[in-house]
């Protein structure tokens, strides 16, 4: 019943509404389970390898422990009045219709056990208050449904008490881990970070090689020797970016963008092979200790390299951890330059330069695209950019508008703090649960469809590695080209005018090159979008 | 929940209690009542009471109380009726004629063509088709079954629409807080009022104060009575002499008639 915008043209009504209410379809997603972690994935993180015998008591004990450690958990479990405000807010519910994907119902999976064991009413009148024992079925339900929550916090925005299902999901996953029922994707990746320093398990030499290749590519394209330094001691800035930026499209174009901006700004910067990962999957499994360990790697890298500033690349939950938690987990960062935000988002960095007029752009380089912006959930609802509340919405948009001529926002109920998750966040970016990932992406895809059809939007920009990966995968399912998802710094990279090196070569030629490339890309993707639209 | 009377919305319990207390009370009241009334009043009452309406009976719809003003008897410098009305109803005075309540006033009428002039009292005309009643949004202005037009000040919201509608300017608005009102003539700030035809006296079988005053003054210009009763003095005089109503053209059929105008 939330109000939305009138749809004025009759034909527009036929476009699917991103907020359309599904009919309830109990159990629709009951079978959606991510692969369980292998014993060594679990043990590597200090969890029991497989389901322990006394799982019931351990789970209850853990719940009790968490109740004493997290006020959020404690208060949220008591306060829900079942008002229903959140019921239609989760993208997984909108996509799947499974009532257990309604945030409150998801919480209730855990709350019913809490009531049974920790409240008087639940002890003596379980039926009345909907309390239930922790049985194996309930544990399985936890495993399924707490892995159908991307911890995006959309429900929290609309709950009158700010009850954040993400917090409950994290707690539930922590309990699952303590009884030996971990999830493969998260736990395996965390193991890699601890061992190698990034999620992909990319060792230093590989990293070095990739960066050098990139440098060559850039120089070929632009004639400007833009550097991507690694492990440079004494650099001013340490860039911490998601490891996806090192190899996958469109992430890598973003990385090129950062490099060009640093280059233009004339600052000295470096990546670190010891801390070559911004992502911190420990947040997904709710483990404070794990999260702290991953964060401490970054502190160590910064100290070892002797940098003055830390800048974080485009990644949603990474930015949440960096912005909201680093200071707590690995602070105080009193050894860094206090004149700059600690840490600083790459968008803040670029935006500052734009404000100061230190960057010049040729906007027409992006004319082949009409853009819209997907606010990533962790950036939107769990962090900030700039010094004003809401800077996280305005700064990326300001950058896009500074480098592109054509920009259109999606429907108001689907952007900014009301943004929809891409469907792959919170440790769900694993292929065995493609089904729920697609269903979760549906609201966003419908919102995009509206602006694509009505305003001719061709590309969607994002500032999150998970979003970009997820969209590349699911967009084709919704009739979009997989390349219609772009990095914000990819747009910057396209439009930025680099100063020719002192010993200038023939920049014009290169420019032309780029133009052709861009035009080609444009025609390609436009055709694709057109084809997709026609199909519809 | 059934109602205490068909038209009532008070929500009171069905039966109003009539018990021992009440019976004993009624006995006391009879004596108390007699004591409370001043000697003069009792005097007049006794005669009529025999046939007058009992206090627990609603007013008689067959009656229509009215007034006849014999303009020829009303002298220019007399204003006894005006004074009597003020005293009777406790109309205070701030000495600002624009805002003071004037339930009855003396109007000088002068024919510019002839120079003929008269002075006559004008009060609420107790119209048979009262515009004030028609327009009142809450029904506070109403016409009693015996033709007396009143304001139920308990539900008057003070909108003053009735004042706009009355062709005779008969109504006043209480512009300021009052104190020391007469117990039998309550009135207060923010409500509209007008001549009640001294309803408390009429109900008690007495004459309106102005009528009494005029008679006492010796002029006898005011005649009060039941217009519907062919036997009444007023009806007979209306039949016998030419009279007119003010602005009869408006069709509101005032209950106050003027003779010799």
């Amino acid at each position: 019943m939330a109000d939305a915008d009138t749809i004025d043209r009759p034909e527009a009504t036929e476009l699917p509404d991103p907020l359309e209410m599904p009919t309830l379809c109990p159990g629709a997603m009951a079978g959606s389970n991510p692969y369980p972690a292998k014993p060594d994935h679990n043990t590597a993180l200090g969890f029991p390898g497989e389901l322990v015998d006394d799982w019931h008591d351990r789970a209850i004990d853990k719940m009790g422990e968490l109740l004493g450690k997290y006020r959020s958990f404690r208060v949220y479990l008591d306060s829900c009045v079942k008002c229903g405000a959140c019921t239609d807010k989760c993208h997984y519910f909108l996509g799947s219709g499974d009532p257990k994907n309604m945030p409150v119902a998801r919480q209730d999976l855990l709350r019913k056990v809490y009531r049974r064991h920790f409240t008087l009413a639940g002890k003596y009148f379980p039926k009345l208050v909907g309390a239930a024992d922790l049985t194996e079925d309930v544990l399985d339900d936890w495993y399924s449904y707490f892995h159908q929550c991307s911890q995006c916090r959309r429900c929290s925005v609309f709950c009158p008490y700010g009850i954040d299902t993400a917090e409950i999901s994290m707690a539930a996953r922590e309990i699952l881990d303590t009884v030996g029922k971990g999830q493969k994707y998260c736990n395996e990746i965390l193991g890699k970070v601890h061992k190698i320093g990034n999620n992909l398990g990319l060792p230093e030499p590989a990293l070095q090689a990739t960066l050098e290749d990139l440098e060559e590519d850039i120089e070929d394209e632009t004639g400007v020797p833009v550097k991507l330094p690694l492990n440079v001691e004494g650099a001013d800035i340490l860039l911490i970016t998601p490891s996806a930026d090192f190899f996958a499209e469109p992430h890598i174009d973003g990385l090129i963008g950062y490099a060009k901006v640093f280059h233009q700004a004339g600052v000295s910067w470096t990546l670190s092979s010891y801390a070559s990962e911004a992502a911190n999957f420990a947040m997904f499994i709710g483990s404070y200790d794990q999260m702290r360990e991953v964060a401490l790697r970054i502190r160590k890298a910064a100290l070892d390299l002797g940098v003055k500033r830390i800048v974080v690349g485009e990644c949603g939950h990474a930015w949440r951890v960096a912005y909201s938690f680093w200071n707590t987990l690995a602070g105080p960062f009193d050894f860094l330059d206090p004149n700059y935000p600690i840490p600083q988002h790459i968008c803040e960095f670029t935006y500052d330069l734009i404000q100061k007029g230190q960057l010049t752009f040729d906007k027409s380089k992006n004319d082949h695209m009409t853009l819209t912006f997907h606010d990533s959930c962790n950036v939107s609802r769990a962090s900030r950019m700039g010094d004003m509340p809401g800077g996280q919405f305005e700064i990326p948009r300001a950058i896009i508008k500074a480098v592109c001529n054509n920009y259109v926002d999606m429907a108001p109920d689907t952007i900014r703090e009301s943004t929809f998750c891409c469907g792959g966040g919170g440790g769900l970016l694993t292929d065995e649960i493609m089904d729920i990932r697609k269903k979760g992406a549906q609201p966003r895809m419908r919102a995009l469809r509206q602006v694509a059809d009505e305003n001719g939007v061709t590309h969607m920009a994002a500032i999150c590695a998970i979003c970009k990966t997820q969209f590349t995968k699911v967009m084709p399912e919704f009739g979009f080209d997989r390349e219609s998802i772009v990095s914000v710094h990819q747009l910057v990279s396209n439009a930025i005018i680099l100063d020719p090196p002192e010993d200038a070569g023939e920049p014009e030629e290169d420019d032309e090159d780029e133009v052709t490339v861009a035009v080609e890309a444009a025609t390609e993707s436009e055709e694709a979008v057109q084809a997709a639209a026609d199909e519809k | 929940m059934s109602k205490c009377s068909p038209s009532c919305t008070c929500g009171a319990p069905d039966e109003r209690p009539v018990d021992a207390a009440r019976r004993s009370f009624l006995k006391t009241a009879a004596t108390a009542g007699a004591v409370a009334l001043a000697p003069g009043v009792t005097l007049y009452v006794v005669g009529g009471r025999a046939e007058a309406r009992a206090p627990d009976q609603p007013v008689d719809p067959k009656k229509r109380w009215g007034m006849l003003v014999d303009v020829s008897k009303c002298t220019e410098d007399c204003s006894a009726c005006v004074t009597a009305c003020r005293t009777e109803n406790g109309l205070g005075a701030l000495d600002d004629p624009k805002i003071d309540a004037q339930w009855i006033r003396k109007v000088e009428v002068n024919d510019p063509a002839t120079g003929y002039s008269r002075s006559l009292p004008v009060m609420c005309q107790h119209c048979a088709e009262p515009p004030c009643v028609d327009v009142c949004p809450t029904g506070a202005s109403f016409k009693r079954d015996d033709g007396i037009v009143l304001v139920d000040k308990h539900i008057c919201i003070g909108c003053r629409y009735c004042m706009m509608a009355c062709p005779y300017k008969a109504r006043s608005f209480v512009h300021e807080p009052l104190s020391d009102q007469k117990p039998y003539a309550p009135r207060g700030k923010g409500t509209v009022e007008s001549c009640t035809l001294c309803v408390h006296k009429v109900d008690a079988g007495e004459l309106p104060a102005c009528v009494t005053a005029c008679a006492t003054e010796g002029n006898g210009a005011l005649v009060f009575g039941d217009l519907n009763d062919p036997e009444s003095d007023i009806a007979k005089r209306l039949k016998a002499y030419p009279t007119r109503q003010i602005r009869a053209d408006l069709g509101v059929d005032p209950g106050v008639h003027y003779q010799g105008l």
């Binding site: 019943m1 209410m21 309830l24 109740l67 004493g68 450690k69 997290y70 006020r71 404690r74 208060v75 008591d78 306060s79 829900c80 009045v81 079942k82 008002c83 229903g84 405000a85 959140c86 019921t87 239609d88 807010k89 009532p99 309604m102 409150v104 119902a105 209730d108 009413a121 009345l128 208050v129 909907g130 916090r153 929290s156 925005v157 609309f158 709950c159 009158p160 008490y161 700010g162 954040d164 917090e167 404070y288 200790d289 702290r292 912005y323 909201s324 938690f325 200071n327 602070g331 105080p332 840490p343 939107s380 609802r381 769990a382 900030r384 509340p389 996280q392 919405f393 703090e417 | 929940m1």
Partner: protein, 244 residues
Amino acid sequence: MLTTAYALLFYFATIVLVAGLAWRIYEYATVPAPLKIPTTPAPTTRRGVIFRMGREVVLFESLFKSNKWIWLFGWLFHVALAVVVLRHLRYFIEPVWSWVVFVQPFGVYAGFAMVVGLLGLWARRFLVPRVRYISAPSDHLMLALIVAIGLSGLAMKFVARTDIVAVKAFFLGLVRFDPQPLPADPALLVHLTLVALLMIIFPFSKLLHAPGVFFSPSRNQVDNPRERRHLAAWAARMDRQPGE
């Protein structure tokens, strides 16, 4: 006899309510919030947070953003409840503060508004499938209880009145441990019994949302993690370990 029974009932209910709530609030206040998790965009100053909380509590801002119908009935109910409670203050204080005398008459309308709001909320528990799915019997009972309190109160005003002066004397007496006789009017006895019941279950039910909202970290935290280090006691202990 009646008076004694109700006196005891109310002493008991009050103890449960006060002690229960105090214990809950103590818990909420002492369990640490180890991480900064305000739902952003969030205020960056303490004052901003107070303002945000004020809007939540007074206007139900988030609920408004979420769903206009639930907001309409929910807000109507709560505001009306607040006014009714203010009107009820007259039973417990002597002399009555003049502003209570002023708002007191509005309490009657609020009584109706409260019931209307509750019935709207209740209706949605039947009519909206999503809400039907998440409703437990206790959710219905809670609404039934408050509706019944409201209706018995209104009955006292409009159907079978009670001796308000004696009711007030009874409660003033309770406070002074000198209970005065309580009138034996059925509507009053029903009203009071249900109220006592409500007081007793308050600390054990979802009504904890009332104190809970003030302790919700996603609403009561200042968005300044970069500027200020936020550290819970148990987390601070870890900080020290490696070095020592």
